[in-house]
Amino acid sequence: MAEMVRKESGGAILNHWMLAISCILLIVTGFAFLFHLDGVGAVFGGYETMKTVHNWVGVVFGVSLVFTMFQYLGDSLKYDADDAQWFKVAGGYLSHKVKVPPMGKHNPGQKLYYLGIVIFGIAIALSGLGIWLMKDNATIMLLSHLVHNVSFVFFCIMVPVHIYLSTLANPGTLQIMTTGMVPLELAKKRYPKWMKAIGKM
């Protein structure tokens, strides 16, 4: 059996799915509020219950977001020359002919995506609390409503990108978030700098 390396811990995987499921639930109910999708509302037994679900799932999302910061925030702030080159070749996504520079544990696209999730995640969580709890302050309500919806647009655009890139676009990636393991041979190709750093290469 091929040798495997662990890329994600059990805790990280659990937290990833907590964040992912809450996020998707929030996007679906968010769309239902935005466009009065009565059918979605009916699933929850009405808009009132859907609001309660949306609010508390938002709390789960926020807590989960805080957990991720211990996991990825440090790495997501470090960029090197290979990362710059990665952007020049668009990560190799626009052509299979280009030479993609060697990557560490995460490529800069993932790191920036993560930073975006953190920034807009904090924005959408705090503004959500504003709408939920500061109903009688018109300034906070209006500001929160705007921030909440700007962040929502970010999630609507970036989450499907993340889902596509981690499944169909990169076969074999999804298992990182299920079993947490990657075959060593594959890891050497995809994350050579990380493999060198941990002495596997």
Binding site: L34, V100, L143, I157, P160
Partner: protein, 256 residues
């Protein structure tokens, strides 16, 4: 929507000059809508209750505006929902609890209200109020009466004609003929469903000058809302095209 409704769009024409401040409109409104009394206190004015409330869909404002020949001049104005054509409350409501009737009344469905109070922040006139159960309430132009061909309770009871109900266009042209130059609400927010015929400047009567939906709400409605769907759909389409045109990552080709 405005054009479809403009033919049978109804309105209330308020002529403060004719108002004697009897507040029969307040009483009739309470009676028809079965609203409880409000415990109130003297605020140094005859205006009572002091402002709109969950149990007061309309009030007469007693503006004390002394003039040279009348040191105790009162300007009575009926304050109520303006039934905007472009209604901020309706725009922002996330549950569809606020809606427009065929007559152009902005009504509410209490059962649909989720109590978020976003409508309060989007209303240019500070009209929506919340009741003890956390549900929205406000003047609904007696949509149940006007839908059956009757006039709103307040208009029905007004003894002086300070409140008139009818086709919006007709009310406006009649007021014009009667010599009212300033018709408040004729153009604002796509045209209000409560039009005011003033002899003097609207601000003397305590009216909001240049009422508008908060710009962030309009920005959200015009750009962010569509962008969320277009963005999501666009990304899904782009992913499908990428998959078909360029195809997934192949680890073996990387060494090229």
């Amino acid at each position: 929507m405005a054009n479809e409704n403009s033919k049978n769009r109804k309105a209330i024409l308020v002529t403060p000059e004719l108002c004697i401040g009897c507040r029969a409109c307040q009483v009739a409104c309470k009676s028809w809508n079965q609203l409880p009394g409000i415990k109130t206190k003297n605020n140094g004015s005859y205006q009572n209750p002091p402002d709109l409330a969950s149990a007061a869909y309309n009030i007469i404002r007693y503006n004390e505006v002394p003039s040279q020949d009348n040191p105790v001049r009162w300007l009575f104005v009926s304050r109520r929902c303006m039934h905007c054509d472009d209604a901020g409350c309706m725009k922002i409501c996330p549950s569809g609890a606020l809606y427009k009737t065929d007559e152009g009344a902005v009504a509410f469905d209490r059962d649909k209200c989720i109590g978020c109070k976003l409508c309060v922040t989007a209303c240019p006139f500070d009209v929506p109020r919340y009741d003890a159960d956390g549900k929205v309430t406000k003047c609904h132009l007696c949509f149940d009466r006007i839908g059956a061909g009757m006039s709103p309770a307040c208009v029905k009871t007004c003894p002086t004609g300070a409140l008139k109900y009818g086709d919006r266009e007709e009310l406006i042209s009649t007021a014009r003929k009667d010599g009212f130059a300033t018709l408040y609400g004729e153009q604002d927010l796509g045209g209000l469903g409560s039009v005011y015929a003033f002899k003097e400047e609207p601000k003397l009567y305590g009216m909001v000058e240049n009422p508008a939906i908060p710009s962030s709400v309009n920005f959200w409605h015009t750009y962010l809302k569509p962008l969320s769907v277009i963005g999501l759909g666009g990304v899904v389409a782009a992913a499908a095209i990428h998959y078909l045109a360029i195809g997934p990552h192949k680890d073996n080709e990387e060494e090229v």
